[in-house]
């Protein structure tokens, strides 16, 4: 196990895509210390900014980060195997393009966490920022394809955009434009959801266990279902209002909103 701690408080952002189990594997501690990172425009080695120690007795997690990494971007980017634990906050693009393995954040994570992820598991035990599990600007094919993201806290806006597969479980509340343009996959929210969920969606499902601020007029009520399957391990008990949409996109995505927490939606019952 490699343990990394910041040597000082960082002011400007650090890009450290090299903090990645695939890259560390097969390297000696000295080699790891020499890996290149940038702090703003300055080119540094990992050792310039961080204390790095190795504990050969521990196998997993492969890398442990301790301290505030909120300014450190791209931790575990594109990682295929192994496990990273961050005991502190994580910066932007953590676990971007993750293709396997596991990243655990014992703190909050910033925007674009798990962006364009393909496989693997990301657990965030705090809040997650905007654009979690959403792709880079302007791409319609780059959305998260598979894997699981679990957030214990709340998430920001535009989470799970262009989602094409995989599961996002949010134990807190979600901001606007949840699952925007998603075509497949599942998003499950235990608490509340801001307005404009599922806009432009063409497939997949969004399950809201709390209150949804407003259902877009581009969604039409379909039925009331007693329960819904989130994944192999979880069946959410209902009853749920089921909305179909986004009809302006001729979509067949589904929003499940719990009946008991959404009395305002009872007006839709007349269309059933």
């Amino acid at each position: 196990m490699i343990t990394i701690t910041p040597k000082r408080k960082f002011d400007v952002p650090i890009q450290a895509a090299c903090i990645n189990v695939d890259i560390f594997t097969g390297k000696t501690l000295e080699d790891i210390k020499k890996l290149a990172i940038t702090e703003g425009k300055e080119n540094l080695t990992l050792n310039d900014a961080f204390n790095i120690t190795e504990d050969k007795t521990v196998e997993t997690p492969n890398i442990t980060l301790i301290g505030d990494f909120s300014k450190v971007k791209r931790i575990g980017q594109g990682m295929k195997t192994g496990e990273i634990i961050i005991n502190g906050n994580a910066g932007m693009h953590t676990g971007e393009k993750l293709a396997g393995g596991k990243i655990v954040v014992n703190g909050n994570s910033d925007g674009w966490t798990g962006s364009e992820m393909k496989k693997g598991l990301i657990e965030i035990h705090g809040d997650a920022g905007d654009y979690t599990a959403s792709p880079f600007r302007g791409t319609d094919t780059g959305g998260m394809k598979g894997g699981i993201i679990i957030v214990d806290g709340n998430v920001g806006s535009n989470v799970g955009c262009y989602l094409r597969g995989g599961t996002i479980k949010i134990k807190g509340s979600a901001g606007r434009f949840l699952g925007h343009h998603m075509s497949d996959g599942t998003i499950y929210i235990e608490k509340n959801c801001a307005s404009r969920a599922g806009t432009f969606m063409t497939g997949g499902k969004i399950i809201i266990n709390g209150t949804i601020e407003l259902v877009m007029p581009t969604f039409t009520i379909d039925s009331i279902k007693p329960k819904v399957k989130v994944d192999a391990t979880l069946n959410a008990p209902g009853p749920f209002y089921v909305f179909l949409g986004d009809i302006a996109e001729h979509g067949t995505g589904k929003i499940f909103a719990l009946k008991t927490t959404n009395p305002a939606l009872s007006t839709y019952e007349k269309y059933l």
């Binding site: 002011d11 400007v12 952002p13 890009q15 940038t38 702090e39 703003g40 425009k41 300055e42 300014k71 932007m92 925007g111 674009w112 905007d130 654009y131 880079f136 600007r137 302007g138 319609d140 535009n158 606007r176 434009f177 925007h180 307005s195 404009r196 806009t199 432009f200 407003l214 877009m216 007029p217 581009t218 969604f219 039409t220 009520i221 986004d246 009809i247 302006a248 839709y268 269309y271």
Partner: protein
């Protein structure tokens, strides 16, 4: 000596009206014809106000003191090279020639580069990147549009001649204006403000008598079904533009997205399950959509009311989606009402050099793009940058307080012609020529047509163009960087020598 210069281009808003007639006496603009009130304020009065910066200043012991140009250039270059991650922001009131050098400077520094579009129509650019845009040059709209929709913008205040030059009050080849003659006649003898007042009076004549205003949206007027040019305004509040429109729809704040969604369904002949969206009854929306579908050529213009309210670029995305849907039934275009006269140019110049229109970062040696990560306000909000250069912009007056407070924690360099809010806050303050008055150059109109700005008077002595300042800073940065590398090399050599 009196000289009348024709076809002068107005360097203020994205309309870039190029039919001004400027009278110059003794290197001073004394009169201006054809321009709007804002143009008159700048071209005849503002550019020569007492607020002009005439020499460089550096803040010493908390006070700005005049210094030589060389000293200021050196100081600025030193700040930028010493900083780990500077931000270069502004650019939108500079000529594209200046913006061009700006990209080179950012590349040399490996820093963040952003322009004002991130606080005006950056969201529009981002929406275009998500979904594209059906658009047209303004003349196409003038010649053909029979339905004009202004959504969450008030051209009468922000682009005063937009309606008169490009849309409702102009004569096109295929569509004529009802007001043109009237306005033309008035313009001959009245000043701008009087014309505005007169047009307002015409409205009273041409429109059904105004009904008492309430927050409740009125039903569409029967005129919406007529042939010929029509104008609809959507806004959260009634504006001057709304007063001249055939129909004004007052929407609830932050509900544009839902309204667009509902209208998209209606355009696609789909039923919706609600009766009212954003305060507007669905039956009214149906009539509006009918008018849109029945138009031969429709044009939607939108403003900051969409880009700044909740939803931001998603508002534009859905507006474009609706326009795209309408194109399956008729011809429709949509266009952002770009603010600063060369904000479109900043996007354009940045894009052809780097591939990206704003929100750039060069820290990795190649351009990176991500609004939200490299946009000025996000950098400032998170305190990511450790020096700022502001050129031809006034974030002092247009950024939230907390952003500027973060900016103040680090050195600030400003390049502006006058003592605007940000210049007053600067640590190194440069003077600059007024682009389009004292300096020629290229600007891009809101429909990305390049127009050459004219130089009509000489700048005060010793005041350089911002292009020259940026070039000099760039050269000085290169010199300092070379010195540093030399120093590094000698240091390593010394170390090596000691080893031996």
């Amino acid at each position: 000596m009196t000289e009348i210069i024709k076809s002068v281009v107005c360097p203020i808003c994205g309309c870039l009206c190029d039919d001004l007639e400027v009278t110059v006496e003794n290197n001073e603009i004394v009169k201006m014809k054809n321009g709007c009130a804002v143009c008159e304020a700048k071209m005849v009065h503002g550019y020569k106000s007492d607020e002009r910066i005439l020499e460089p200043h550096i803040r010493k012991n908390g006070k700005l003191v005049p210094v030589s140009m060389d000293e200021a250039i050196y100081k600025a270059a030193q700040i930028l090279t010493d900083a780990k991650y500077p931000l270069l922001f502004g650019w939108t009131s500079s000529a594209s020639e200046t913006q061009h050098v700006g990209v080179e400077l950012a590349e040399e520094l490996g820093c963040a580069l952003d322009n004002c579009c991130s606080v005006c129509h950056g969201p529009s650019v981002m929406a275009i990147q998500e979904i594209g845009i059906p658009t047209a040059t303004l003349g196409q709209i003038r010649h053909r549009a029979d339905l004009l929709v202004y959504w969450a913008c008030d051209p009468w205040s922000a682009h005063p001649r937009h309606v008169e030059r490009y849309t409702a009050f102009t004569d096109g080849r295929f569509e004529k204006s009802e007001f043109k003659e009237y306005v033309q006649k008035l313009k001959g003898k009245a000043s701008k403000k009087k014309v505005e007042a007169a047009i307002r009076r015409t409205q009273v004549r041409y429109q059904p008598p105004p009904r008492p205003q309430t927050a409740i949206v009125e039903a569409p007027p029967p005129t919406l079904a007529k042939t010929g040019r029509k104008m609809i305004v959507f806004d959260v509040k009634k504006t001057m533009t709304a007063e001249v429109a055939d129909y004004f729809v007052q929407v609830e704040p932050n509900s544009d997205y839902e309204i667009f969604g509902a209208m998209r369904c209606l355009v696609n002949d789909q039923e919706i399950d609600v009766d009212k969206v954003g305060g507007v009854p669905v039956e009214y929306l149906k009539e509006i959509v009918d008018a849109m579908v029945n138009a031969d050529f429709g044009a939607i213009f939108f403003g900051l009311g969409l880009t700044q309210s909740v939803g931001r670029f998603r508002n534009i995305e859905i507006a474009i989606a609706m326009t795209r849907d309408l194109n399956r039934k008729t011809k429709f275009v949509i266009s952002p009402m770009r603010g600063h006269f060369n904000v479109t140019g900043a996007n354009t110049v940045f894009a052809w050099q780097t591939g990206y229109p704003f929100a750039l970062d060069f820290s990795q040696g190649y351009p990176q793009y991500n609004p939200g990560e490299f946009t000025a306000n996000d950098l400032l909000r998170r305190g990511d940058n450790d020096a700022t250069l502001v050129i031809s912009a006034d974030p002092g007056a247009h950024f939230p307080k907390s952003s500027i407070q973060n900016m103040m924690k680090h050195p600030l360099i400003t390049i502006n012609p006058d003592w605007n809010a940000i210049s007053r806050l600067g640590d190194v303050v440069f003077p600059a020529q007024w682009c389009g008055i004292e300096q020629a150059g290229t600007a891009y109109r809101m429909d990305s047509v390049a127009i050459s700005l004219k130089k009509v008077v000489e700048a005060p002595k010793g005041v350089p163009s911002d292009e020259e300042i940026i070039k000099r800073i760039l050269n000085k940065v290169r010199v300092i960087k070379a010195q540093k590398t030399r120093k590094d090399v000698t240091e390593t050599k010394n170390v090596e020598n000691k080893k031996i």
